[in-house]
């Protein structure tokens, strides 16, 4: 056990460092969850409301986004469970990834682990164990707050067993993915790459869940992320997925322990190879940025193509009209049915446009954020003393980030179109996808502008862009389902193009969004040219 000496002391230090981050996440995640639950009876309380939303949730589009509805006897609580499980599972995974990377590679990179292990009587495995315990505490806290909150919310159709199972399942999926992330933290030597491995793993489990849900839900058992749907909250209340997730987490932790024993500090299991002794390619900040970002940019483009294609491959099931009785068919006629089907896919494509745009902004914003990361890590101190202006440096990162996000969006839409048209009898025209693509560009520019302004004048607050983006996403993706008031919906830039690609693009929001973006960018450049460079 000497290997684990001082684990608790490290855990205390970790918690001291992360308490604010954890508190904010927990307040938002558990708080919003319970708040939605408490409000839910007002939205879906009457049988009529329930049957309306059930119709929506049974469509394949919704199944691909939220998972299948498995029971016919619906009530408020069941609707809540099927809307929230997958959605909140995603947030739990992101939260745990962020904690886990910070407590493992992030800490090792900063040199803290070396100091602690080398100079103090701390066990070799103590940092890893402390990271694991931190995840247990974070998810445990979520379970307690959420479970208790759900008991208080007391939705019609809910019961104690279901409430607690719901909370525990979400905690378990977070913990499980967080512990799996510890494996990746042993494999590669920097937090950036750990994050890539994390999200690649999560992406695969998510895609498997989505594709099996619309084809054959039995196969969803193949995806650890799909297990959360199998808990069948408020219907069968199945605790097996919780057991599976916890087992997976334990296996992940054990594997990380073994891998940790086989590596030196500051290195990964995957060895870093040498490279070329000279370079003709690297000539300035632009080529340098390309060189440093090329792998992750490719990862984004390929990943988004896969995501787009997976959504596209379910277009044929989405086009099926839920209520396609012979009478309806007769009334509408063949062309009428086809028209209705096409409209149904196109509105689904509109939702995809929002999802792809959010991810595209994330991909591009990560590049622009790197300007500040590199500044703080001291990488830029020698670039900044070369004959190249700060404006050019900022412009390089901004243009690269924006162009990357545009490419990501385009590739995802094209992949969705390609895969979709291969399964549809009546292909969708390119113009719809093109229109959607154009409609999303002002939004990409807007978020780019916000981030550039933050990096220019107050880089410590750059996380505001994630809050803005997350807010816009939740409002658009979720606002209608929880019946948000119109003024709140209007806060999201996506609201203004919600009818695209079925309808044409409004010129007014394009104009003012680009205007705001432009002003933000100008503010950012002025600020960046006038502030101190940190190191």
């Amino acid at each position: 056990m000497t290997q684990y000496a001082q684990t608790l002391a490290l855990l205390k230090a970790n918690l001291k460092r992360d308490w604010l981050k954890m508190t904010i996440w927990l307040v938002v995640l558990a708080g919003m969850f319970v708040a939605v639950a408490a409000k839910f009876e007002g939205i879906y309380g009457t049988p009529k409301q329930i049957s309306t939303i059930a119709e929506t949730l049974k469509s394949q589009a919704m199944v691909s986004l939220f998972g299948p509805m498995t029971t016919a006897h619906l009530n408020t609580a069941i609707i809540f469970a099927s809307e929230m499980m997958v959605f909140w599972g995603i947030f739990m995974v992101i939260f745990n990834f962020s904690l886990s990377v910070g407590a493992t590679r992030g800490q090792e990179e900063s040199g803290l682990t070396e100091m602690v292990l080398g100079g103090h009587p701390v066990g070799r495995l103590a940092p890893l164990a402390a990271a694991g315990l931190e995840l247990v505490i974070a998810n445990g806290a979520f379970v307690i707050v959420t479970g208790a909150g759900m008991m208080v919310a007391n939705m019609p159709g809910s019961d104690g067993n279901g409430n607690w199972l719901f909370a525990v399942t979400l905690g378990a999926v977070g913990l499980s993915f967080g512990l799996i992330s510890l494996i990746f933290a042993q494999l590669v030597a920097d937090s950036h790459n750990v994050a890539i491995y994390n999200y690649a793993f999560f992406g695969i489990t998510y895609l498997v869940r989505m594709m099996t849900d619309v084809s054959n839900p039995d196969y969803t058992w193949f995806s650890p992320f799909g297990w959360i749907e199998k808990a069948d909250i408020y219907t069968k209340n199945n605790w097996l997925p919780v057991g599976l997730l916890l087992m997976l987490g334990v296996v992940g932790f054990a594997a990380a322990v073994i891998l940790n024993g086989n590596r030196d500090i500051d290195t990964g299991i995957i060895q870093v190879r040498g490279g070329k002794r000279t370079s003709r390619f690297l000539r300035g900040s632009g080529t340098l940025l390309f060189w440093n970002q090329k792998a992750i940019s490719l990862f984004w483009i390929v990943g988004m193509a896969v995501l787009g294609a997976s959504y596209g491959s379910v277009f044929n099931s989405i086009s099926k009209i839920v209520n396609d009785s012979p009478v309806v068919r007769q009334v509408l006629g063949q062309s009428g049915v086809r028209h209705l089907e096409q409209n149904q896919i196109l509105s689904f494509v509109g939702i995809l446009g929002v999802i792809f745009s959010v991810l595209a902004v994330v991909g591009g914003a990560m590049v622009i954020n790197h300007l500040y990361t590199e500044e703080r890590r001291g990488y830029l101190q020698m670039i900044n003393t070369k004959p190249e202006s700060r404006s050019k440096l900022l412009a390089t990162y901004m243009v690269y980030g924006f162009v990357l996000s545009v490419i990501i969006l385009f590739v995802a839409l094209m992949a969705a179109m390609g895969a979709g048209n291969s399964v549809l009898k009546h292909p969708l025209a390119f113009k719809y996808f093109w229109r959607l693509f154009i409609a999303m560009l002002p939004t990409l520019a807007l978020f780019t502008g916000i981030l550039v302004a933050l990096i220019g004048i107050m880089p410590k607050w750059r996380a505001v862009v994630w809050i803005a983006l997350g807010g816009a996403f939740v409002i658009s993706y979720f606002g209608r389902l929880i019946d948000l008031p119109a003024w709140a919906m209007k806060l999201s830039p996506f609201y203004w193009f919600r009818k695209v690609p079925l309808a044409h693009i409004d010129v007014a929001p394009v104009t003012w969004m680009l205007g705001i973006a432009f002003v933000m960018i100008v503010i950012g450049f002025i600020g960046y040219n006038h502030r101190d460079i940190e190191s």
């Binding site: 000279t278 080529t287 070369k386 004959p387 202006s389 502030r531 190191s535």
Partner: protein, 306 residues
């Protein structure tokens, strides 16, 4: 050396919030000169350099390089300047060789035979990724790039803190070469022997103030020589002599003594010693170390021997 000013700061001030990092920094570096910039950690050496490089903006005073304002004309100044930071951080995914070429390209320079020569001298394996380099090796990458860059002004911020003694010597040789070629060098350090060997002029910074600046000789003039002497007659009178400090007799008859003496009093003291018939005499000029310690501890110094 000539009178052409390459770098000048006047009453330079810099505050971070309430903390005054630089209170009053006055520096002058002439063409062909090596200026040693010394002071303990946290005295403001790096902050001064970062102002000179245009990375941070001064809150008061002025700083010019090549007669241009360091903040407004930073891009023009950087065309003719090369900088090696104290803590070198490099992009983890580039090799050392790629980094050197990038830095050269960005300064409008080329990878020449001289670059290869430098790589060989510093014994740097340029095929390794930066993430696998130690601190010293990262410093070598920056030094190779700087020394093979042909510019007028070189700024080194504690450049040898990670180097072993052999590489330190190579560094010193190259600084000497730069000087011979008429280049100007600003070298910040807290390794006094290094500065003593290489620098023409020295500026001492303490708590954000440059408290002394000038050539080593002129500073030595201001301070004390150490004297070890043996005479035939007792040296009791030394105890009352002006300008004598830290007097210590090494025998009971008081004919063997060690003491330090103010430079401007040395004539009087020598007269006194001669009167006692000198048998053996050794005087040592103060080292930079002595100067340094004197400036930092002068407040509570007392006259020795009594």
């Amino acid at each position: 050396m000539n009178d052409e000013l390459v770098l000048e700061t006047k009453n330079l001030k810099k505050s971070f919030g309430k903390f005054q990092a630089l209170r009053n920094v006055n520096l002058q570096l002439h063409k062909g000169e090596v200026l040693g910039f010394i002071g303990p950690n946290g005295a403001g050496k790096s902050t001064t350099i970062r102002v000179i490089l245009g990375l941070i903006k001064a809150t008061g005073g002025s700083a010019t390089v090549f007669g241009k304002d360091v903040w407004k004309d930073s891009v023009a100044i950087h065309k003719n300047l090369s900088y090696v930071p104290g803590d070198v951080y490099l992009w983890p995914n580039l090799t050392g060789g790629q980094t050197i070429d990038l830095l050269l390209h960005m300064s409008g320079q080329k990878h020449t035979a001289r670059t290869d020569q430098l790589i060989k001298e510093f014994k740097l394996d340029t095929s390794k990724k930066n993430r696998t380099y130690s601190k010293g090796n990262r410093q070598k990458v920056a030094l190779v790039a700087a020394f093979s860059t042909d510019v007028s002004l070189y700024i080194f911020d504690e450049p040898t803190s990670g180097l072993d003694p052999l590489n330190e010597v190579i560094f010193q040789q190259h600084v000497a070469e730069l000087k011979k070629a008429g280049k100007s060098v600003l070298l910040s350090s807290h390794i006094l022997s290094e500065v003593e060997k290489m620098c023409d002029t020295i500026a001492i910074i303490r708590e954000g103030n440059v408290i002394e600046a000038g050539s080593l000789e002129s500073m030595q003039h201001l301070t004390r020589n150490t004297v070890a002497v043996r005479t035939k007659k007792p040296l009791d009178e030394l105890q009352k002599a002006g300008g004598v400090y830290q007097l210590k007799f090494n025998d009971a008859s008081k004919t063997t003594a060690e003491f330090s003496v103010d430079s401007d009093q040395i004539g009087n003291v020598m007269d006194l010693l001669s009167a006692k018939t000198i048998v053996q005499l050794k005087t040592t000029p103060p080292t930079l170390e002595d100067l340094f310690l004197r400036y930092y501890q002068s407040a509570d110094e007392q006259k020795g021997g009594d």
